[in-house]
Symmetry: C2
Subunit: 195 residues, 2 copies
DNA sequence: GTCTATAACGAGATAGAC
DNA sequence: GTCTATCTCGTTATAGAC
């Protein structure tokens, strides 16, 4: 029997929710335990019980974000569709984050890279490695069926697309201009389509 | 007669130098007056004499950075050359910043946008507006002589290029991988070349 | 123009009661 | 699991001597 009096999300989970949003909106160095505590209506000491240090909290935020992100990419694959449709789905994952006035978590952490706790540095790069690998797999499919014609190697083209989308997201968010992000992303994909 | 005993750069200028580098490397929220004071061998109080607040310092950093950046773009124009050559020169400006392990100042501040002092927010967006306008002028030239064939409008293509280069720079810096930045930028430009 | 000294506050983190 | 209370340190900023 499920305990019905259990809150929908426990404190640790709600803490991750708030921390994730604050990192995406403000960066790792521009939020504090006090910010989260105020929002959740608990004390800072409570938060330290769940995540002893800010570094531990940050690592947990990355882990959960990456888990969900790559689940979303797997869902795109599961849906099937052409390479071009999959790339559109990929862009839509980013657009949905941006609509929430958030930057990609790892794009934000890339900006903070030099000041991050050591334990957080590698996971950020792994996120990009895996993302580029997924996009490369989509480009492979498009090259195989003749629908896509990237300029350099598939891996280089994937890297260019992912890194570029991060930049479009970064600047579009500063303008609070989601449509411009979508136009830029569409242009980047069109550059890969055989014409 | 020039005063020869004058230091090569006065304190205010050296302060701007250090602050600029720290913003580009660490972000606006991850450096302090104490960091600059330690590096220059003066006290924090001395720094507050030159720039009363961190917001004033930040604004001065943006102003000087923008001045130099658009001088560099003007120099590219003065040199003449094809649209493609001018875009290569544009990318080289960014690559030289990246070689110093720095992010574009305004790209970094775009990440910090939500937490910036109000006085710094508009200048960051103006930097991007002006940069896109310059790139658009180069694309116009390329379209006019038939060497370039951007996918959408010239302005949209310029926006895509500038925002994408910011992202390539952001992620490449996290990897400390300048060659990958240059390959990505080359691909972005190639996508604009008539083939 | 630079200094010493300090104010006023917020950060991350811990001890120990409940 | 959450609280109160506290520690230590770093932050921006100012007053006033030199």
């Amino acid at each position: 029997m499920v305990e019905v009096s259990t809150p929908l999300r426990d404190t640790a989970t709600r803490m991750l929710d708030v921390a994730e949003r604050l990192v995406q909106q403000r960066g790792f160095n521009a939020f504090s335990y006090a910010d989260i505590a105020a929002e959740l209506g608990v004390t800072k000491a409570t938060l330290h019980y769940h995540f002893a240090s800010k570094a531990a909290l940050g690592s947990a935020v990355i882990d959960r974000y990456a888990l969900r992100f790559f689940e979303a990419l797997a869902a795109i694959d599961a849906r099937g569709g052409s390479a071009e449709e999959r790339l559109a789905g990929f862009v839509d994952v980013y657009a949905n984050v941006l609509r929430d006035q958030r930057m990609c978590l790892c794009g934000m952490l890339a900006a903070d890279q030099l000041t991050l706790p050591d334990s957080m540095k590698a996971p950020v790069l792994e996120f990009f490695d895996r993302t580029v690998a997924w996009v490369a797999s989509v480009l492979e499919r498009g090259v195989a069926d003749g629908s896509l014609a990237p300029i350099g190697s598939v891996t280089e083209a994937a890297k260019t697309l992912v890194w570029s989308i991060e930049g479009a997201m970064l600047v579009a968010r500063a303008y609070d201009d989601v449509p411009s992000f979508e136009r830029a992303a569409t242009q980047l994909i069109q550059a890969l389509v055989r014409r």
